[in-house]
Amino acid sequence: MGNNVAVVTFPGSNCDHDTVWALQELGAEVVMVRHDARELPRCDRVVLPGGFSYGDYLRAGALAAHAPIMDAVGRAVARDAVSVLGICNGFQILCERGILPGTLWSNTSGEFLCRWEWVEVATSPPGWPAFVPGMRFRLPIAHAQGAFRVHEGGAAQIWAEGGAFLRYVDPVRNAATGYSPNGSVQGIAGICRGRVIGLMPHPERAMSPVFGSEDGRRFLHLWLGGPS
């Protein structure tokens, strides 16, 4: 698979340029796509970046999920034609669209939360053996609605289907499971289904030790198919 990546800008997206920059740092060919485009450009991968699409009014991601570009993304996913990565708001949009299961609800604190967290690969996503279970990344989170929630019994199903990709861990207290900064069910920080991945933390903000960690670079490198 090549590394032509389309990054979608919705009105109110605000991590789009950070994401483009991060992907270019890693050598990807990046094109930016508008929310009202009816077709995806020729590309191997799509990134839905973070931000506050449509102000996150109504519910985070709810309005963007209906943008014309999401029809195109939905069709491409159905044909298994692209890999999709939703970061933060992008993850929320994928859930609202129904491309990923569950939904992202208000943090338990009721407040926006911006801080560094550790996440751990719980299950390798299909097609990305380089994300080895147990692998850890230190990444920032920055969201008000990041509590992953599902309907009753949904969590077990996600684990059973191999969709529980990333979970929060607390390496200091080293709690085995269940740590969650925001109220996510079973501490889930990211999930996958087919070639679609969504996660709340921001790898594009952790591209260099200057910014606190380069684990985001490592994460995106692996997502782009690079060797571990």
Binding site: Y54, G55, Y57, L58, L63, H66
Partner: protein, 94 residues
């Protein structure tokens, strides 16, 4: 003492800007809901009050609205008690 269910609607005063309603309306109009208009988003708070009689429960609810649930600068609130409640043409959202 009886437990009275109460429903409170907290809505923005009519002259106050509702950015969420505005943005939502703009999107849904574009997506096939051109017939929808004047959309505004408020809050709905359901709770129960332990009280001697409906009048006392209502008074508690109104105090709660004034002191906590509604922001008097921007919002107004309306309270319904059991006997006012009628089931709407509901749907489970699935």
């Amino acid at each position: 003492m009886t437990r009275y269910p109460v429903r409170m609607a907290v809505t923005l005063k009519p002259e106050v800007l509702d950015p969420a309603g505005q943005a939502t309306l703009a999107v849904i109009k574009e997506r096939g809901f051109g017939m929808v208009d004047e959309l505004r988003i408020g809050k709905l708070v359901d709770f129960s009050v332990q009280a001697r009689d409906p009048a006392e429960a209502l008074e508690v609810a109104q105090r709660l609205g004034r002191e906590f649930l509604a922001n008097p600068v921007l919002e107004r609130f309306d309270v319904w008690m059991e006997e006012d409640l009628r089931l709407g043409a509901g749907c489970d959202g699935e």
